[in-house]
Amino acid sequence: MSRIAETFAALRARGQVALVPYFTAGDPDLPTTRDLVRAALAEGADAIELGVPFSDPMADGPVLQRSAARALAAGMTLPRVLELVAKLRSESTQPIVLFGYYNPFFRYGVERIAADAAAAGADGFLCVDLPPEEAGDLRAAARGAGLDLIALLAPTTPMARVRTIARVASGFLYFVSVLGVTGARAELPRELPALVRRARAVTHLPLGVGFGVGRPEQAAWIAGFADAVIVGSALARLVEEGEREAPARVASFLGGLRRAIGAAAAARTA
């Protein structure tokens, strides 16, 4: 069983829901990212999504676009992201997913990135612009290296396609909550619980919900029907505004989300 599957199985056994923060690796620099991840893990994050910055982030809103631009300006590359993974792995057992756009992985070499990511201690990949139809090479390489390739579901994905995607996915399924790019939203779509439950009917994989989450109430709401709450842009904004205080502010924010999720999950199983 992969580290991701084990983590979700353990949470499910405790009736709990995962908190999964996203950080762009190297925003504003690698040591800070390391501090941010440590802070997140100390606040009870169950897994980490580590963003591999890309010059043309087509599915991201302004906050994560700026975050990627800062990381690239600081000289971030995929080999340096892998160094960070290795450092984090030496001090934590929580799953780490490399999250990004396909081209940097493709350019590095699909077989090579799978082998090197596994050696560094990463647990999976998520490529925003790599639908299952085109993911054959990376999926095979990931599987060969014992890594998961996380698949995305969107509000527009029809049921037959949900089934097809679930059949080839591993680790967990990432449900995109909103029609649109990344970025915190004042309101999340009312039909989200129904969409997630509909997907749950055809898969045993855990379902995480991301995009748009910015407040503890939203995290608590999602914890009522999903297996993981994924939060990204809200953290990148704290990094952007917080500078040196960013790790402390991120810790306090994630602590709030963790408590809200914990209470909601407990209420769900009660």
């Binding site: 087509m58 599915a59 081209n103 350019r107 590095y108 579901l153 527009t156 029609l179 790019v181």
Partner: protein, 374 residues
């Protein structure tokens, strides 16, 4: 002149998943996948439907001004003293460039799909104008993004239920490279008939500029089985390939994935996309349509480059000999014809796609030449 080595048993491309060999495909967010699948199904149905084809043909004729003339550039040819140069006059279309061929087609498709809003990206502005034009014609809302494709894709992810993304080149995710090629193929279909009528034979070469590559594929497609007709795409070498300030993805790029498909890209060794440069905004794109990558690999088409300097000189030379101002994009194709013609003899024919008119570029050219427009 070298002859191409293409096989007559060439596979029918793209395949069902939109691949041209290893290129093409569909690399987009899951949110957009269902819309692209729906679009592909609708397009495959409509492209064979006589009613749709009649409707498209009538708008192209009565509104866009098709067929466009094939013009023998006799003064230009005489001055160069070699091959005879024929110009396919896409610059005479409504809105001043070939882009309208495609936007009419896609807008009709959008209407059949009951979409009420069009979006488009635009570099030189020609595709943006052509999209806004058909939006007005068909009573649709419209928004144009003055950026390559990132902002348009971001909009589309949020609006996909009521919005149709009108991509202007043979780039992007499947089915766009196929669809745009087919909407532009009218250029080559007409030109092939016209050159046969005028000269009694096929040209020795077809020459067209390549940014994303829609006017080039539009010209080339009808000649793809004419193995003696050389197909030459002209990329923008900007300030020179050696300076790094260029837009020649095929000449100096590597394979990668951007904006929905796999093709050649200007990128660094870590897969980050590099900025393109060309004096011509329409060629200033870091990628190229996937079918061009395949055509080059297969040997059926060849690709050369022309610098900013050569393109401006091409614009000047055509303007002064024929009184026709080409767009800076098309001036790249003209410049290559100017380079090639003197090496050939009078019996040989070069067919150049004059994809757009150059009025829009007068400010740019004046700046470049240090001329003050008053």
């Amino acid at each position: 002149m070298p002859r191409s080595k293409s096989s007559s048993a060439a596979p029918k491309l793209p395949d069902a998943a939109g691949h041209f060999g290893v290129y093409g495909g569909r690399y987009v967010s899951e949110t957009l996948m269902p819309a692209l699948i729906e679009l592909e199904r609708a397009y495959r149905r409509l492209r064979r439907e006589p009613g749709f084809r009649r409707e498209l043909a009538s708008w192209l004729r009565d509104y866009a001004n098709r067929p466009t003339p094939l013009y023998f550039a006799q003064h230009l040819s005489r001055r160069l003293g070699g091959a005879r140069i024929y110009l396919k006059r896409e610059d005479l279309l409504h809105t001043g460039a070939h882009k309208i061929n495609n936007t009419i087609g896609q807008a009709l498709l959008a209407r059949r799909l009951k979409k009420t809003r069009l979006i488009a990206e635009t570099g030189a502005g020609q595709h943006g104008v052509a999209t806004a034009t058909v939006a007005a014609l068909f009573g649709m809302r419209c928004e144009i993004f003055m950026d390559a494709m990132n902002e348009a894709l971001r909009d589309w992810i949020a609006t996909v239920r009521d919005t149709f993304y009108v991509i202007g080149s043979v780039a992007g995710p499947h089915p766009y490279p196929l669809m745009v090629r087919e909407f532009q193929a009218v250029i080559g279909e007409e030109a092939r008939r016209q050159v046969l009528r005028a000269c009694g034979r096929l040209p020795d070469a077809c020459i067209a500029c390549v940014g994303g590559g829609s006017n080039a594929l539009g010209l080339f497609h009808a000649f793809r089985r004419d193995r003696r007709v050389e197909l030459i795409g002209v990329e923008a070498a900007g300030r020179g390939l050696e300076t790094g300030a260029h837009a020649a993805s095929l000449a100096a790029g590597q394979v990668g994935v951007l904006h929905g498909s796999k093709s050649y890209l200007l990128q660094d060794e870590t897969g980050q996309i590099r900025n393109a440069h060309s004096i011509s905004a329409g060629l200033d794109y870091p990628g190229v349509g996937p079918e061009h990558a395949w055509l080059r690999d297969s040997g059926r088409a060849t690709y050369v480059t022309v610098t900013d300097d050569e393109a401006v000189e091409g614009l000047r030379f055509l303007t002064s000999t024929e009184g026709i101002i080409p767009a800076l994009e098309s001036a790249h194709a003209v410049a290559h014809a100017i380079r090639l013609a003197p090496r050939l003899d009078r019996r040989q024919i070069l067919l150049v796609n004059l994809s757009g008119r150059g009025d829009k570029d007068m400010g740019t050219v004046a700046d470049y030449l240090g001329v003050k427009l008053t």
